[in-house]
């Protein structure tokens, strides 16, 4: 059963992560564009560092770090009277009330918490990628358009929200589309984050079973389970390609500027 549910888990993860990553990306791109030096530095650093590191390396320590950070902050707020140190040697000890989730919480809460952490981690990584795409897209909006807007007396935030943002999507879509494809293919790494995803179940169910511990003994069947995964991913990619193609046609329709057309060609 878990095997079938895990497909839903993966789809759910994709469904939640994509908008979150887009949000992070938008913030990152805005920060990178900012005229205020600290923000701009922060934005560029976020993009450069997270993009420069392989996702696995990031996943290996980030989730634990995030979990500890959350518990640490809750500990500081919820248990101000706690006198023992949080780091006792290698142990990370916070008061029971600061535990996330509370250790008395039922298992499904623990699982959804783990899932939320996974979504957040994915969103941070892919947020950096999409920040990069959006940053490029914002710059690709013809400058003359913004100059005209300024000439009409718009403030820079008005220009940003009314001129740049609505127009950037058509430039960003090819990059974002590819990002979506990459995100799909990054989901097998979910099991690193402690989520029981399709790879976990394929390994678990496909692995050979001896008759002593199961009613359905079988030899090593991982090959067939992985084949099912392969087909799943190929089909999913194909469907995404078709949908993105349609979306692109929709968006470019009416954006008949020569620059937009050329940009579309270059990115296609």
């Amino acid at each position: 059963m878990g095997f079938y549910w895990s497909f839903l888990t993966v789809l759910l993860l994709l469904g939640i992560t994509a908008p979150c990553a887009l949000g992070f990306g938008f913030l990152g791109a805005m920060a990178a564009r900012s005229k205020f030096f600290v923000f701009s530095l922060f934005g560029h650093a976020y993009i450069a560092i997270v993009r420069g590191v392989p996702e696995i390396a990031f996943f290996m320590f980030f989730v634990i770090a995030l979990d500890q950070f959350l518990e640490w902050s809750r500990h500081k707020i919820l248990c101000p009277d706690w006198s023992e140190p949080i780091r006792q040697g290698n142990d990370f000890v916070v008061c029971q009330a600061a535990k996330l989730p509370l250790s008395s919480a039922p298992q499904w809460i623990h699982e959804s918490y783990g899932f939320t952490l996974a979504v957040f981690t994915f969103a941070i990584v892919f947020g950096a990628f999409s920040a990069n795409v959006l940053f490029g897209a914002m710059r690709a909006v013809p400058y003359a358009q913004q100059e005209t807007a300024y000439a009409y007396g718009m403030t820079s935030s008005q220009v940003f929200w009314r001129i740049t943002v609505p127009q950037m999507w058509v430039y960003a879509l090819p990059g974002l589309g590819n990002l979506w494809m990459v995100l799909i293919k990054a989901t097998p790494l979910l099991f690193l984050l402690g989520v029981e995803d399709i790879v976990y179940w394929a390994r678990e169910l496909g692995g050979s079973k001896t008759a002593r511990f199961t009613d359905y003994p079988h030899p090593d069947w991982r090959m067939w389970y992985f084949l099912a995964l392969l087909v799943f991913y190929l089909m999913f990619t194909r469907v995404s390609e078709v949908v993105l193609d349609r979306l692109m046609k929709r968006l470019t329709h009416g954006q008949a500027t020569a620059a937009g057309e050329a940009q579309r060609r270059a990115e296609a």
Binding site: D67, A97, S103, H110, F213
Partner: protein, 242 residues
């Protein structure tokens, strides 16, 4: 108004301390991929020797327990980080691990590790290619011996490697290999058993001495009245009894 707020704070605080004193639910971390110690059964539940042992121990210590699975590679960091309260995953007591976590009273005698090979194998194991799961005591044992170590992420793959001829032998806990060797005609044990680690114990955070004591006491109780031996006899026929 102020006094009401203070009152609630005091209430929350006292509740906090009450909870900090004892675990309301003990989360038991295991791997779920190492039969007969622990594995996922047909219903998707954790099962095996350690499941039965753990449930019995919790009943004796009057604790409410819950089972959690975690990848072997990160099983200790996640304990330290407090994602569960104890490791019960066929983990041998070693000096290296003792530096970071504490172990309960051991609940098996030092378990033999054994080499399994294809049935016709007649070579010299000391110079052979031997497969083992990464970051196990068996892997570091082979690395320091003369044999060539071939590391895989899961125990499943180590067996597959012997079948495919990638490795001459696999070194793993004898209790893990035994059902596989018995049921398959193409594999058999070779060479002498080796004793690498200590017995198996439950792992705890060093700061959690209280919980450790509770479980150690329960294990001692089970040793004393012979119920532990019954469990060992049932699940781990190749292991020694107390």
């Amino acid at each position: 108004m102020k006094s009401i707020v203070l009152g609630t704070t005091a209430l929350v605080l006292s509740a906090t301390f009450a909870m900090a004193a004892g675990h309301s639910v003990v989360r038991m971390g295991t791997e779920g991929a190492y039969p007969p110690y622990n594995f996922i059964d047909d219903n998707g539940e954790v099962a095996g020797f350690e499941r039965e042992l753990g449930d019995e121990l919790c009943a004796r210590a009057e604790l409410k327990c819950e089972w959690v699975t975690n990848e072997w590679d990160s099983i200790i960091p996640n304990l330290l980080s407090g994602n569960y309260d104890t490791i019960i995953a066929g983990m041998s007591v070693t000096a290296e691990r003792m530096e970071v976590i504490d172990f309960s009273e051991q609940y098996t005698l030092p378990d033999a590790s054994a080499y399994a090979t294809l049935s016709g194998f007649s070579g010299d194991l000391s110079g052979a290619v031997v497969a083992a799961q990464s970051s196990t005591i068996q892997a570091s044992y082979i690395a320091s011996s003369g044999a060539t170590l071939l590391e895989f992420a899961t125990p499943e793959e180590t067996i597959a490697a012997v079948r495919s001829g990638e490795a001459d032998a696999v070194l793993a806990d004898k209790a893990y290999l035994e059902p596989i060797v018995v049921e398959s005609s193409d594999m058999s044990f070779s060479g002498d058993d080796v004793y690498i680690g200590g017995g198996i114990g439950m792992g705890f955070r060093k700061s959690d001495a209280e919980l450790r004591e509770k479980f150690s006491a329960a294990i001692q109780e089970m040793k004393a009245d012979g119920t532990l031996n019954v469990l060992i006899g049932e699940w781990l026929p190749t292991s020694g009894q107390f």
